[in-house]
């Protein structure tokens, strides 16, 4: 089994719901976006196209972050999901230097969304689940996946642009989409072998 994701850029409307869904699910601090969207413009007036590209951890099969982590806090599960053990991370941030996708995030200070007001009741609960001084990132919502649910960004996407499933299963929806529509991955040339595929816009 290899957990993977397909993001259909024809369906995606760049609404940032995934960015907020992830934030709402995991209660990350200000500025830390495990899921995010970047926008790219191509062409020149009037032949212009803009593409919204949702990004998250690619859970690479040959993850550079796993190779370089000196403590073993970052490791790859048998199902392919790359996780970080917050108890083992020392915050050296080497992984952030080698991730080509900008998926990793580090917070030193206990910032909150309403500066000067401290954490509100939601934040107080949310931030208790995060440590400062360690690196964190998208984990394909392992806690949900292990309970048989799908990642929060997938379940919530308003256009159903995101699909999650077993890449090794030829009959799964993710495999079917890649086979039928054709897909690409980011930075294929770096040979990280991501688990996130994009269908063309």
């Amino acid at each position: 089994m290899r957990q993977g994701m397909v993001i259909d850029l024809k369906r995606c409307i760049g609404c940032f719901a995934c960015q907020v869904a992830c934030k709402a699910e995991h209660g990350t601090r200000p500025g830390t976006m495990w899921a995010r969207v970047v926008k790219r413009e191509y062409g020149s007036f009037p032949n212009v196209r803009r593409v919204s590209l949702p990004l998250l951890c690619m859970h690479c099969r040959k993850a550079p972050c796993v190779e370089v982590c000196p403590t073993g806090a970052t490791r790859k599960r048998p199902d392919g999901i790359v996780t970080i053990d917050a108890e083992k991370c020392v915050g050296c941030r080497y992984c952030m230097m080698v991730c080509p996708y900008g998926s990793r995030h580090y917070q030193d200070d206990a910032s909150t969304y309403f500066p000067g007001q401290g954490p509100n009741p939601y934040e107080a609960l949310a931030y208790a689940q995060h440590s400062t001084g360690v690196v964190e990132k998208c984990d394909f919502c392992v806690e949900r996946v292990d309970r048989g649910l799908q990642p929060a960004c997938v379940v919530n996407c308003p256009t159903r642009a995101r699909t999650f499933g077993d890449l090794h299963d030829r009959g799964s929806e993710v495999s079917r989409l890649i086979d039928e529509r054709g897909a690409f991955r980011l930075h294929e040339e770096l040979e990280t072998c991501p688990s996130v595929f994009y269908l063309p816009p």
Partner: protein
């Protein structure tokens, strides 16, 4: 990273095509550069101190290596767990670096004690310290060079450059220490000076080579090189690396070679050179720019029969 400005910066970075790395240079990140600087200089100084029988140099180089360790610890988010860094030498260069440091200290501390040095285990601990030194001298270059995300760092020449600068820095440190110590006699300065000059010149060649190669290594690397020679890192590059690190030592060294060398001059050369060593590391790290996540959208493939090859 504290407060509102860092928050805004983080968000602005998200949409930059060419994102500079910030964790290992801004704020506390400067400690990483400092640590790599100290460790290189310390290792190089250890080597030369051993080679030239400079007792004071042994102690000084160990102190500098200790500074490197402290700087590393101060940078970590959770320094109390630092021992965990030793756990993955089979895949992580930082892990190897810690082992190198430990091995160096295990050998060097006893060796620095005259009684031990002259005893029967002297050569043994020397050998251990040299093994550790070799690792420490080389490892941080490799730390950067394995990064596929930052093309400016991903050049085989980078570890070579760092080794060269480590040696250079070690020599420079000893120039300074030696200038002070030679007042008390018993230290062959001139030989050291020759070594120094040689290393300085070769470093200059290496820097140029590095930049030439970097410009050809793709968009982000070219931009990084551009930042060094013409962008926001250029003051540090020209002022630190070129002027303080190369021009001043070469010129002063040339003057000294013809008119005779004073202790003060040697110390100045040494300090200037050390500044250059710090700045080359600073510049390289600061100019690190991530490869754009996407420029043109790649063409879609079906993977098909190549699924296995694609690792699917």
């Amino acid at each position: 990273m504290p407060s509102a400005d860092a928050f805004r910066q983080r968000l602005t970075d998200l949409n930059l095509a060419y994102r500079p790395q910030r964790e290992w240079i801004e704020g506390r990140g400067l400690l990483v550069v400092a640590a790599h600087f100290f460790s290189g200089v310390g290792a190089g100084a250890w080597l030369f101190s051993v080679a030239l029988n400079f007792d004071a140099g042994l102690v000084i180089s160990l102190a500098v290596v200790g500074l490197a360790g402290a700087a590393h610890l101060a940078f970590l988010g959770r320094w109390q767990r630092f021992w965990r860094i030793a756990l993955r030498p089979h895949s992580s260069w930082i892990s190897r670096g810690l082992w190198g440091l430990v091995i160096l200290l295990v050998g060097a501390i006893p060796y620095a004690v005259p009684a031990v040095r002259d005893s029967v285990i002297g050569p043994l601990v020397l050998g251990v310290s040299l093994a550790g030194m070799a690792v420490v001298l080389a490892y941080h270059g490799f730390v950067y060079a394995v990064s596929r995300a930052i093309p400016f760092w991903r050049l085989p020449l980078l570890p070579v450059l760092y080794i060269a600068y480590g040696l250079r820095g070690g020599a420079a440190l000893l120039l300074v220490a030696g200038a002070v110590a030679s007042a008390r006699g018993g230290f062959n300065i001139d030989l050291l000076e020759v070594i120094k000059l040689w290393v300085v010149v070769s470093s200059a060649v290496l820097v140029l080579l590095y930049l030439v190669l970097a410009r050809g290594a793709g968009g982000a690397a070219r931009r990084s090189a551009g930042e060094l020679v013409a962008g926001k890192v250029s003051p540090a590059f020209y002022g630190g690396v070129v002027f303080l690190g190369l021009v001043v030592p070469i010129v002063l060294g040339a003057i000294g070679a013809t008119t005779g060398v004073s202790r003060g001059l040697l110390a100045v050369i040494g300090l200037s050179s050390l500044a250059g060593d710090f700045y080359i590391k600073y510049c390289i790290v600061k100019a690190g720019i991530y490869s754009p996540i996407v420029e043109e959208l790649p063409a879609a493939r079906r993977y098909g029969t190549r699924r296995a090859a694609a690792g699917l």
